[in-house]
Each structure stands twice: as structure tokens, then as C-alpha cells.
């Protein structure tokens, strides 16, 4: 079988020759998509970061393949989205089939005027390779391969890690450690944290096959297809003429037998209608939906699969990990710079553990719908599938995976609306992209204007005479008058805006507050709340 691997060299670091542990502000453990993105984000904020990984290569199987619009918008800020979208296959349409007939189709991004597509499919090893290359351009990132954390000591104001290398162990001290070390996180074991949730008995077989095929670039999901009676199946396109196929197996199927290519091949041949394909990767999965009770354990902060796991139906694994990274990076940078108190981290736990609960809830529902737990649940599902043939409500109840969308945070960082809004993203929601024109008349997007404003707190201001006065360190995205143009009117409509409307955006692109009439005092108060420096106000 074909393997895409990229090898990285272990290099001895001067820290390994020191008698005492070298001290670093932040050590990120795990150079997967989440750890790499977090490190790049921190570096772009001027924060030096040590990034450790226990392996020296990437690319065993395609693993995560669906990256969401939200993730692409984040990667665009990190300077890697163009490579991802150039290589990835763009899709927005999904189809649901029951038996041999189509029941339903949906479009995840039916409107125009967004820089990024609804989804791309891209093998995780490509995403990681592009992120590693980006990380190498940033001198703030100190990436160390074959560095495996074996012990942790928590101190009052720092943690000490023991790290195993080919040259033997050494120690590192860090004010904060971020554990992005995946589902089998060793740091999670080292802090002795609980990791509880629901285990699903059904097994799923994932096969990546190489073939040239006429299927469109869409997500196709089958309930009870003719080629796989009584079970479900999923077909997804990846770059390089690779196709991802998920097949649900019975709970009592023998993994060793099911995994054999000679047993997988006839089933796929029936599905695809031909035998002209080769296997790239075959893997068998059982799912767990679970999360840590607390994402922060003293000096160790958990992100991605280390903190939470979901079933893959809905693309909520890697995408939610990337949302963790974007949520945490600016908070870490502020606390390390001394511009916010440490309790800003509490909002990371509040916001991202609620998002994890939402992802677990959605993916549990999808998995339960695909693999009904009782005769009654099978009957309910059958009723939905049959009613879906000619009723709208039936179509909407079919659950073949609800795809990842960003959570809306109920968070102490938000300033509650004080005025009436008929639309627009409320405080705690992520910004919505829209097309703009620059002062030179050239086309751009709100997400690009946000980066030009510094990827920091920024005021999105709909001009009404003189510019609002903003506190130091806050960027301004001014629409109208001498600022950006909104000739399509899409920005104004998406933000329910009138002259004088303002949105205070957080450095992760979420809305902190919004106002019908901007005042300096209101912006200062909202900023203080959003940076956790208003304690006692």
C-alpha cells in the first residue's frame, strides 16, 4: 500500500546540554494540525514558542479530510489557506440516498460573497506538510522532532517537562504547556484527568482508494444501499484521484477479517460498479464521543483531540481542534505579554468546552441515527426515511451527519446587546465574511480587511460622519466614506447595519459587542470585558 510520508530530522538542541531546565514561556506538545496552527498563530503574534513532537514524520493515512470554511478562514490568517484550497477539492453539496434513490440534497454555502468555500477535502498529511513549511518560516517557532514528553511536574507558576530524545532525556520549564497531543494524549494521563463519554459498538471501515471516476465533487451518503444492505455508506472525493469510502460494519464483525483487502474489494466493486481501483489506506474505527471535564489543569491547557473526541460524521474533529487553537492563541499571547490576567483562560474553558459539548451532541445524534440502538429507534429512523420521500419535514429529520459550523459562545467576554437587532452575528458568534472594495477600487473581503487591521481586536465601523475614537491597540475596519466600499450591500445586510453601527471583533474573529451608536466609553467597556480586565467593575 502507498504511504505518503514526510520525514523530519531530529536535531540536538542546546537546551539538552544544560544542567538546569531551560525556561520557556510556552511549550506546545504535538505537531498535528492543532499544535502547528497554534504555534504559527502565537508566532505571528510575536510570541516565541517551543513545539515538540514525539514522531519525526507525518502521513500515515489520510485521516481527517474535511476542512471547514471556518478552519480555512483561520488558516488564511496564518498564511496557508491558499495552498490548502489550491490542493484541496472544494465542495458544498451533499446528497442523501436511501436504497437506490436520492432522498435529499443540501448546499452548505448557498450564498455568494465569501472568500472561502464551505469545505475542502484534503488529506491531513498535506495540511500538516503545509503547516510545517509555514512554521519553518517563523523564527519564533522552535520545532523539535522526536521529543517525547515522559513526565510532568506542576509548580506554582510553571511546569517542568521531562522529554525523551534519541540522545536521552532532558528537562524543560514552561510557564504554560499546551497539550495538542491527540486522542491518546500522554499529558492527559500525566495530569491524571478523566476522559469520559459514550462508546459506540458499531464499527466503521474507512478505505481510501485511487481511481479515476465520474462522481461529482460532493458528499454522498447512503442509508441501506443495494451494495451494503442494512448499513450506511459515505463517499467523498480527495485530491490526487483518491476517494474516501466509509462503510458501517456490524458490531460483531471481526476487524482483522474485515480489513483484508480481498474482503473489502468485492463490496467496493459493487458500490462503484467496477473493479478498477487500488487501495491506498484501509482502517477500522470504533467511535467514542467524550471530553475532559476541565480543559485546564494548572499550567497545562488541553486542545483538540487531547481534550475532546467525536465521531467523524460531521467533520467536527480536526475543525473543532483548530477552533480551539484560534480561541487560545490570542489569550495566551495576551497573558504572556501581561496585558490580560490569567483568568482570561477561564473563557477558553467556558467557550471551547461548550463547543465540545455541542459537537459531541451533534455527532452522537448522527451516529445514533446511522446505528439505531434499539428496535424502536430503527423504526423511528425507518419512518423518517420513508416519510422523507415526499415530505419536507422528513427530509430535514434525516441525519447523515450535521457538518461542522462554528459555535456561538455564551461567554463572559461578550457584552450583551443593548439595542434591537433584526440580524447580524450576535455577541459570541463568529464574524460573517462579505465582499468589499478597497480604497483603490480593488476587490477584497471582510476577512482580509480583518487581517490588514492586524488580526487583533478590531472595530468594524459603518461610517456616520467622523470616525469613532478607539482605544490604543484596536484596529479599525471602516465601511463607507473614506474607508472600504460595500457596493453589493451584502456586508450591510449580513450585519443588519445602518450608518453608525459598529461591531467590536475579537482577535479570533468573534463578535465581542455591537452597537447602533458608537461611543468611546462603550467600546472601552466592551474591550475591558472581552480581555478579562474588568474584574470588579
Amino acid at each position: 500500500m502507498q504511504q505518503h510520508t514526510t520525514q523530519f530530522g531530529y536535531r540536538r538542541h542546546p537546551d539538552q546540554d544544560r544542567a538546569n531546565a531551560a525556561e520557556h514561556p510556552v511549550v506546545v506538545v504535538g505537531a498535528g494540525p492543532v499544535g502547528l496552527s497554534l504555534a504559527i498563530d502565537l508566532a505571528q503574534r510575536g510570541q516565541p514558542v517551543v513545539l515538540l513532537d514525539d514522531a519525526d514524520r507525518i502521513g500515515e493515512g489520510s485521516r481527517a479530510i474535511c476542512f471547514s470554511k471556518r478552519s480555512l478562514e483561520y488558516w488564511d490568517r496564518l498564511g496557508v489557506a491558499e495552498r490548502m484550497t489550491d490542493k484541496g477539492v472544494v465542495w458544498s453539496v451533499g446528497r442523501i440516498f436511501h436504497s437506490a434513490s436520492q432522498l435529499y440534497q443540501f448546499n452548505l454555502l448557498p450564498e455568494q460573497g465569501h472568500k472561502m468555500p464551505a469545505f475542502i477535502n484534503l488529506q491531513q498529511f498535506y495540511a500538516e506538510a503545509y503547516l510545517v513549511e509555514r512554521a519553518a518560516q517563523l523564527p519564533e517557532i522552535d520545532l523539535r522532532w522526536r521529543n517525547r514528553v515522559s513526565a510532568l511536574e506542576q509548580r506554582n507558576d510553571h511546569a517542568v517537562l521531562t522529554i525523551e530524545t534519541p540522545d536521552g532525556p532532558y528537562r524543560l520549564a514552561a510557564r504554560y504547556v499546551v497539550a495538542c497531543d491527540g486522542a491518546r494524549s500522554s499529558l492527559r494521563s500525566l495530569v491524571g484527568a478523566d476522559f469520559k463519554g459514550q462508546v459506540f459498538e458499531d464499527q466503521f471501515l474507512i478505505a481510501d482508494v485511487k481511481m479515476t471516476a465520474e462522481f461529482p465533487t460532493e458528499r454522498w451518503f447512503w442509508f441501506d444501499p443495494p451494495f451494503h444492505a442494512g448499513r450506511s455508506a459515505l463517499l467523498h472525493r480527495q485530491p490526487d484521484d483518491i476517494w474516501r469510502i466509509d462503510l458501517q460494519l456490524s458490531p460483531d464483525a471481526d476487524p482483522a477479517v474485515e480489513k483484508l483487502p480481498e474482503n473489502v474489494r468485492p463490496r467496493l466493486a459493487r458500490m462503484l460498479g467496477h473493479n478498477d481501483f487500488e487501495f491506498v489506506w484501509i482502517s477500522l474505527y470504533k467511535f467514542q464521543c467524550r471530553r475532559m471535564e476541565k480543559f485546564i489543569h494548572d499550567r497545562v491547557i488541553f486542545a483538540g483531540d487531547a481534550a475532546h473526541q467525536v465521531s467523524p460524521f460531521g467533520a467536527r474533529g480536526a475543525n473543532s481542534g483548530l477552533e480551539d487553537a484560534e480561541n487560545l492563541a490570542w489569550k495566551l499571547a495576551r497573558v504572556l505579554a501581561g496585558t490580560s490576567p490569567e483568568n482570561l483562560f477561564e473563557s477558553y474553558h467556558v467557550e471551547r468546552s461548550a463547543a465540545a459539548d455541542e459537537n459531541i451532541r451533534e455527532s452522537t445524534r448522527s451516529t445514533d441515527f446511522m446505528a439505531p440502538a434499539s428496535r424502536q429507534e430503527a423504526r423511528l429512523r425507518q419512518a423518517v426515511l420513508s416519510l422523507a420521500r415526499d415530505t419536507e419535514f422528513g427530509k430535514r429529520m434525516i441525519n447523515g451527519g450535521r457538518l461542522s459550523v462554528p459555535s456561538v459562545y455564551d461567554t463572559p467576554l461578550s457584552t450583551a446587546d443593548g439595542e434591537t437587532w433584526r440580524g447580524g452575528p450576535p455577541p459570541g458568534a463568529s464574524m460573517l465574511d462579505a465582499p468589499l472594495t478597497g480604497r483603490d477600487g480593488g476587490s477584497t473581503f471582510l476577512t482580509e480587511a480583518f487581517v490588514k487591521a492586524g488580526t487583533r481586536f478590531a472595530l468594524l465601523e459603518f461610517a456616520n460622519g467622523a470616525a469613532a475614537s478607539v482605544p490604543a491597540g484596536v484596529g479599525v475596519i471602516r465601511i463607507g466614506d473614506d474607508g472600504f466600499g460595500d457596493p453589493s450591500g451584502l456586508l450591510g445586510a449580513r450585519y443588519d447595519a445602518a450608518p453608525g453601527t459598529g461591531y467590536l471583533l475579537r482577535p479570533d474573529g468573534y463578535v465581542a459587542a455591537r452597537f447602533r451608536h458608537l461611543t468611546h466609553g462603550a467600546i472601552v467597556a466592551a474591550l475591558a470585558r472581552a480581555t478579562a480586565i474588568n474584574e470588579g467593575l
Binding site: G230, E362, R365, D368, F369, A373, S374, R375, Q376, E377, A378, R379, L380, Q382, A383, V384, L385, S386, L387, D390, T391, E392, F393, G394, K395, R396, M397, N399, R402
Partner: protein, 73 residues
């Protein structure tokens, strides 16, 4: 009054899940009893014979599928 078959819940998954969870932890026979009671409660809430008749017709068309499903169990 016409039977509404458009999607009336803001989040249809929430409604489906509530019904699924109502059946968790009870026997299959109890599930049938629960369904019977639930149908009567909802029929009374609708309070319209025309709508109820159309709902029964729509559901009955599905019986063939239901029998197929039974055989697969």
C-alpha cells in the same frame, strides 16, 4: 385545514432526539404503549379530524416500508 408536511421545528434534530430519548431504557412492548399514548395526546392537541385523517393516510402509505424493516430485524 391542510396537513402541514413542511418542516415546522427550528431544529428538527431536537424533536427527533426527544422522541428517541423518551424510548430509551424501556422495553419494546413499552415503546409500543408509549407510542399509542403519544399519538392520542398529539391527536387531541391537533383537535382537527380532517388533519388527523390526512395524517393517518400519509403514515399508512409507509406501512409497506415498515414491514420490510421488520423483516430485517
Amino acid at each position: 385545514m391542510a396537513l402541514s408536511t413542511s418542516s415546522n421545528f427550528t431544529k428538527p434534530d431536537d424533536a427527533f432526539r426527544m422522541i428517541v430519548e423518551a424510548h430509551r431504557g424501556i422495553s419494546d412492548a413499552q415503546s409500543a404503549d408509549l407510542d399509542a399514548a403519544l399519538v392520542l395526546v398529539l391527536a387531541n392537541h391537533i383537535g382537527d379530524l380532517d388533519v388527523l385523517r390526512k395524517a393517518i393516510e400519509l403514515a399508512k402509505r409507509r406501512l409497506v416500508d415498515g414491514q420490510q424493516q421488520q423483516q430485517q430485524q
